[in-house]
Symmetry: C2
Subunit: 571 residues, 2 copies
């Protein structure tokens, strides 16, 4: 591609409304352009990277025996009513009406549609196993779309769905997809981890997320320092320690804590560490119940674990008004002593004695508080967020923590959808069996964005070669020098004939400006063709990754680069 | 692909709700599956044909210098308000609201979005010419979606948009696309014609439709028997003949026509040919105006020509009530004599004398009617549909008529959108110039459907090789015979290695049922591997197109077919 004939407008300034690096760089490099909140155009340079990821995904899906099809974006309500998600799914499901006032939604995921296809087309166990996938634009009406392609509303997703006769088959399908996903992200050139994850509103019994490691990642993950265990912190279990509750050593006493509300304020004021305090969270479920949860002062609540325990979808901190009503005190002073509320506690609290809690009275806490003697709890459970240093639930070695971006998610769905929609087949005994499903997603645009999040420097993008929009950039230092232009054109032709994707920067621009754009665009290999080098029959090769420069003899340059590209793609 | 591992469920019966052949065959061959009215799943076998067309389109677009990008399906109202199409476009534009109650639509076409991209990214004439295209799912809320992919609501379209500095550039871009479209449909293996067409609600100064010729086509087209002229009948002009109006020979007289309303009834009753009658259509415009239009008895109104003349969007036949009110008679007896209404007449009427018209009284007509003497008209104009035998507007040779399916449509848009959205560039004098646009669409799914409409027989589809889901089908007559299975597997492997796309029918089914499916699926080349042939070291080749059978030596069969496929694709 000749730059002079390409639509590629770079920006020098960082756009004000782009918060994270990948978003900034994708805008600056002319990869995407905003149409509305969370809705983007993929401009030619950006679409090339997207297509690269799509092609890798497609190849690995086919290798794993999955069949490509294409479902519609506009889906009739009837199918979603059969699975009851029409009512259950929140406002992320964009519901709409057609000209005849019939209800439809924009598909955020396609379990219902695929299950409908399979119940229609598959009747016998002999047609199994089956894995069907598509690469398609989906829509989720996110309440706060942000970070460019990271959390968009309209986004390109690969979604696959497996159908098996029994659990063993379903497990094999899941494992196949797990391995295919590993290969996909390896082939994309990304550092990633597969972690155990929560199943959220897709449902099912277990799931793994594939996380591209990046400091800006929205997800916190932990992995074991010695075994293979890795999980999203939302999901990471903590095994209750077997420690017995210590005997009380102190008497219960009320202490004045005037205006001291936060854990930090109270413990600083009382000159103790936060580990000596038990904080009491007053929470409300989406079902309208109010509960109190006790955590050690330095810990954070894992609301997903709590929801699972309570069987609700959401918990939120109770309002000041509710806190006042149930504790008789302003918020900041809640405590379990004398509290007439359902009280749950994290396992860790069971190993504490002589601690501090709020006194359910303004400006007051209790010190020397002890379980059983001063109050009781309904249950102890695993309710806190895991942190680095916590013991691995498998081998008890200390966990390490990372930040990551979820680019893939695979689920063992079980029979949630096949049962609701009646997708059955006849087995070899002629008996109806409900199909066992799995579903497997990859965010295509998000994979590109997270590759940039993981691979960039202060000057711009550093594309992993397998997903780079072009593999080689030829910077023509002075296109008015005929020898330079001819050598550049020859290189361009030779590389293209060798199957290399080349962007020929033939623009009438200053060399400095071309080099700046080259750094911003992040094309892995740069050939600089200039008057001086040509005198020696040489061109300069610079790798975007390390900035390393080498002079190459002009004669063999194209062949050398073609070979380097071939090797990088063969990985 | 092994049939036993493929999702391909064929139907023996013709689905009741499929009216045209391509729709019936696509359902029976497991290519598509209905989700809702005008909304389909593309099943694996169908998607392969769709992808073939997409790839041919993509290659020809790139050859023509167009750049691929991808715009969203969900488009904010603001852009459509800028072009004023938000208000003008009818109910085919599916409007919706997001969770924040902002207005959006599902893009039925993307002039606004692309013009917004270009006004943001292109500032100088040096970035021109530019042609940007996408292949994307679009949505049009058709009032009567029908015929499967022929007139769907969600459908895959290639849309390209060109931007030029001046008319000469825009003409060159249009010509480039015209030639690219010819190559695309040639490469798809289709018989087609490019015809002059109306610009409809896209707008612009001129346009061509690409019509796949098929008897079931919804569009009637005419082409000249001697020159290059071809046009949609909606668009085909008729030059007024220079004939003078003949002198009256008869007196005006009222004749009784009891209960005779239609042209056929009246002329049969009065024992004259329909050419002796002038019919009077009482019509209402969408603007609320009522007009009368006069046509020779055997002619049909071209409502598009009439709308252009009247400056309205739609005309419909007036209701019985309105006819009664303006003519004083029931419908069937309207006529221009004494009619107090705006009266327009087709050119042809000007050459008539002593004709018959309705008398504006029940059961009565006038005979011996003559222009000027008995009534006057406001204007004569070209208002009728062209038919076979009419003179070519270019060379006056007789026109021939065809039926066709519109698969592509290209438009000279001019500045309609660039002016409305302010898309300008600086020219070489530093002056702002409004961009001149063209737009170019291809219905991808409809191309596949029309290929089937044009290429089928009573047994099923006859795919043109370049867009066939697979190029070769191997029918394994008896997979339980190990020699047969091995020979089939070897052929399958050899063909695949040679780059041929093969469907290996390894199912445990009767040969007759496999042959029936093979005919239905329409894969161009079929190899039949059976015990008898193998005894002679031979396999049978049958071409789907002509049913011709040849025995091939097993040894060279794969090579021979690979060569045939290569040659067919090289066209």
């Amino acid at each position: 591609m000749r730059y002079s004939q390409y639509l590629l407008t770079t920006l020098k300034e960082t756009p004000a409304d782009a918060e994270i690096v990948s978003h900034q760089l994708m805008l600056r490099a002319g990869m995407i352009r905003k149409v509305a909140a969370g809705i983007y155009n993929y401009l030619p340079f950006g679409l090339r990277a997207v297509r690269k990821v799509e092609e890798i995904v497609r190849q690995e899906m086919e290798k794993a025996g999955a069949l490509e099809l294409l479902m519609p974006m506009v889906v009739p309500a009837e199918l979603w009513q059969e699975s009851q998600r029409w009512e259950q799914y929140g406002k992320e499901l964009l519901r709409l009406k057609d000209r005849k006032d019939s209800d439809f939604c924009l598909g955020p995921t396609h379990e219902e549609v695929i299950t409908d296809i399979v119940r229609g087309a598959v009747r016998s166990y002999r047609q199994l196993p089956l894995n069907l996938y598509q690469i398609q634009s989906k829509f989720r009406d996110e309440i706060r779309p942000r970070f460019g392609l990271m959390r968009g509303r309209e986004f390109i997703m690969k979604d696959a769905y497996s159908f098996d006769l029994d659990e063993a088959g379903a497990d094999a399908a899941y494992e196949k997809m797990f391995q295919a996903y590993r290969r996909i992200f390896e082939r994309c050139g990304l550092k990633f981890r597969a972690v155990e994850a929560d199943t959220g509103n897709i449902g099912g019994s277990s799931s793994h997320e594939f996380m591209v490691l990046a400091e800006s990642g929205e997800d916190a993950i932990v992995s074991c320092s010695s075994c293979q265990y890795a999980a999203n912190v939302e999901k990471a279990e903590l095994i209750a320690t077997a420690e017995a509750t210590p005997e009380p050593a102190m008497d219960l006493q009320k202490v004045a804590t005037p205006g001291m509300k936060s854990v930090e304020e109270v413990t600083t004021y009382l000159e103790v560490t936060p580990q000596r305090l038990v904080k009491t969270l007053v929470l409300q479920t989406d079902g309208g119940e109010t509960v109190a949860v006790l955590l050690r002062g330095d810990r954070e609540l894992n609301d997903i674990k709590l929801c699972r325990l309570l069987g609700c979808n959401e918990v939120t901190l109770a309002s000041e008004e509710v806190v006042q009503q149930v504790t008789g005190a302003p918020s900041g002073f809640a405590g379990p002593v004398g509290l007439e509320l359902r009280v749950l506690a994290d396992h860790e609290v069971a190993a504490m004695a002589d601690f501090i809690v709020g006194a359910n009275a303004a400006d007051s806490h209790y010190a020397g508080v002890n379980l059983q003697r001063d109050f009781t709890v309904e249950a102890f459970a695993d309710l806190r967020l895991t942190v680095a240093g916590d013991p691995c639930p498998r081998c008890a070695s200390p966990l390490e923590s990372w930040r990551g971006i979820e680019v893939g998610h695979i689920f063992k769905l079980g029979t949630k959808y096949s049962e609701a929609l009646g997708a059955t087949v006849l087995d070899d005994q002629g008996k109806d069996r409900v199909l066992i499903m799995g579903c497997y997603g990859i965010g295509i645009g998000r994979t590109v964005a997270s590759a940039i999040e993981q691979n960039h420097d202060e000057n711009g993008i550093i594309f992993p070669l397998p997903i780079a929009p072009f593999q080689v950039l030829i910077a023509v230092v002075n296109p008015k020098d005929e020898a330079v232009l001819k050598a550049s054109e020859d290189l361009y032709q030779s590389l293209q004939q060798a199957g290399v994707e080349v962007l020929l920067d033939d623009r009438d621009e200053r060399p400095g400006s071309k080099f700046k754009d080259a750094d911003l665009l992040g094309i892995p290999l740069r050939l600089t063709v200039g008057t001086r080098g040509l005198k020696e029959e040489a061109v300069e090769l610079q790798r975007r990754k390390d900035g390393e420069r080498t002079m190459l003899p002009l004669a063999g340059a194209a062949e050398l680069l073609a070979e380097e590209v071939r090797q990088a793609l063969a990985l």
